[in-house]
Amino acid sequence: MYQDVILDHYKHPHGRGLRDGDAEVHHVNPTCGDEITLRVRLDGDTVADVSYEGQGCSISQASASVLNELLVGKDIAEASRVQEAFLELMQSKGQLTPDDAMEELLEDAVAFAGVSKYPARVKCALLSWMAWKDATGQAREEKTA
């Protein structure tokens, strides 16, 4: 479960800290107390920045760092595809071996495949990704409103 990639992200998180954003959300995993505050800044259709702060286990922390690395700079449609692929992987209960296309899409996030075998930890891995989806939705509404 604790792949080196995960530990690296945990010890050296990417893009941690709160910066300007178009929308901010606060998500909590009530059963274990993991929390994240996450902001998304959009630049047209591009994810210009994802900044975050929170407390939680290595899985939730590393997952937020990987998210930042993967999604920042992508256009929203592409980022959403990555988000969906990650969701699919995490809900696979360890039954899914990522194919080439998925590996390409998910990059470092593939390292979380092992986590999907641990139902109690899947929520930790998904925390930031659900927060990102929520925040991005809000940010787009802001912009179009």
Binding site: P30, T31, C32, Y118, P119, A120, R121
Partner: protein, 422 residues
């Protein structure tokens, strides 16, 4: 005494089935083989269920949910897996509609209490009416009496015909615009009557009342499809369907389970707790306070697997044949009077009767000396005894392992009882 036994269509291979039930080998009173005809009280347990329980405790036991260690994950997977099995068994639209309780009685009390504490439109109060029937088990009477007393609601009920069926002739006066909930049994544990769900549900829906079905005597014996029933709640109990004691089920429609308030408070049923206030987990956990009956759920899952492998339709056909044969044999006994439908149509596998003026206690005791286990008394349905002016009945009830030879033993035993007290 021998009796030329007719060929009965639809029987299971009981020789094979009986091998699964260790207790059926038991001899009592100096070598008499047990003839167990008390299945409406509780069923016996197959080896598969007993082993599932032992296996759980020997290898996987842990408390469920939130654990990150292997045993906790295994126990959680087994417990939630049992929920999946039960959901499939009753054709529930969602696994989250299956609540594990301690028995059917708790399931029914849960419904009554949810409604007692609910907000509108569900709230039961002094302007509303509750409808049950005269053939209910005490567990589907007393919770509603308590609710009526505590809220001021009016308790009404359907009476019974002389044939032991629901008297629905005044259905429009019994179920009215004031009715908030109609709760009735699918199959009576004392009369054996199988009730006409559709007519009642249709009228309840007309007036916007919720429908709660007590399926305790149905789930063990036939295909139960909560969607086909069109009820809002369905309650049943594990120990009557080859499962362990200590577990019951309440199925409820998802929207209702979301809207209605919790009943028991405690660990597992919460989302977040502070000293000042708490929020509750989504159903089914909202209604499962404290450490659940983990091993018992696993055992019930094994029971459901066992029953499904044989097939609920096959079990129903078997019991239909046995019950028909029993009705035929018993009706030939002088002085025997059935309490409940005399024909096998729309009836379950429990047969109540009076034998002349021999008291049921004596009937049961003398049968017991022959190794035959029947139940005597009011069967937790005293209003039925009052209705038919009898202190008690003798009840024989069958299950998938019951044989025509056991019916013969019963009939012969009853002849012996008659002579003994004659």
């Amino acid at each position: 005494m021998t009796h030329p036994r007719p060929v009965l269509p639809g029987l299971l291979d009981t020789e094979a089935v009986r091998k699964d039930f260790p207790v059926l080998d038991r001899e009592i009173h100096d070598g008499k083989r047990l003839v167990y005809l008390d299945n409406a009280a509780t069923s016996q347990k197959p080896r598969q269920v007993i082993d599932a329980l032992s296996g759980y405790y020997e290898r996987h036991n842990a408390n469920v949910h939130r654990g990150v260690h292997v045993l906790a994950e295994e126990a959680t997977a087994l417990y939630e897996g049992a929920r999946d099995k039960v959901a499939a068994f009753v054709n529930a639209p969602s696994r989250n509609e299956v609540i594990f309780t301690k028995n059917a009685s708790e399931s029914l009390n849960l419904v009554a209490n949810m409604l007692g504490w609910a907000d509108e439109p569900y709230k039961v109060d002094e302007r509303t009416e509750i409808v049950i029937t005269e053939m209910e088990h005490h567990s589907n009477i007393v919770p509603w009496q308590l609710l009526a007393q505590r809220t001021g609601a009016k308790l009404k009920w359907f009476g019974l015909t002389d044939e032991g069926r629901l008297d629905l002739s005044a259905i429009d006066e019994v179920i009215t615009e004031r009715t908030k909930i109609v709760s009735f049994t699918l199959v009576s544990n004392i009369l054996g009557t199988h009730n006409p769900v559709e007519a009642i549900v249709r009228r309840a829906q007309e007036v916007g009342a919720l429908v709660c079905i007590d399926a305790s005597q149905a789930a063990p014996h036939m295909t139960l499809d909560v969607q086909a029933l069109q009820a809002d709640f369905v309650a049943f109990t594990g120990h009557k369907m080859c499962g362990p004691t200590g577990i019951g089920v309440l199925w409820g429609r998802q929207e209702l389970l979301e809207d209605l308030p919790p009943f028991l408070g405690g660990g597992e049923m919460i989302e977040t707790v502070s000293m000042h206030s708490s929020t509750y987990a989504p159903a089914p956990h909202k209604f499962e306070a404290g450490t659940p009956p983990v091993a018992q759920a696993v055992g019930l899952g094994a029971a459901v697997d066992y029953l499904s492998a044989i097939g609920m339709d096959a079990i129903a056909a078997h019991e239909h044949a046995i019950t028909g044969y029993a009705l035929e044999r018993l009706s030939a006994i002088p002085g025997l009077r059935f309490i409940g439908p005399e024909s096998v149509e729309d009836r379950g596998a429990a047969i109540s009767f009076a034998l002349g003026d021999i008291h049921p206690h004596d009937v049961g005791q003398v049968l017991d000396e022959l190794g035959i286990a029947v139940r005597v008394g009011h069967h937790c349905a005293r209003p039925v005894c009052l209705r038919y002016g009898i202190p008690a009945t003798t009840r024989a009830s069958f299950y998938l392992y019951s044989t025509p030879a056991e019916v013969d033993a019963l009939a012969d035993g009853l002849e012996h009882v008659r002579n003994f007290f004659g």
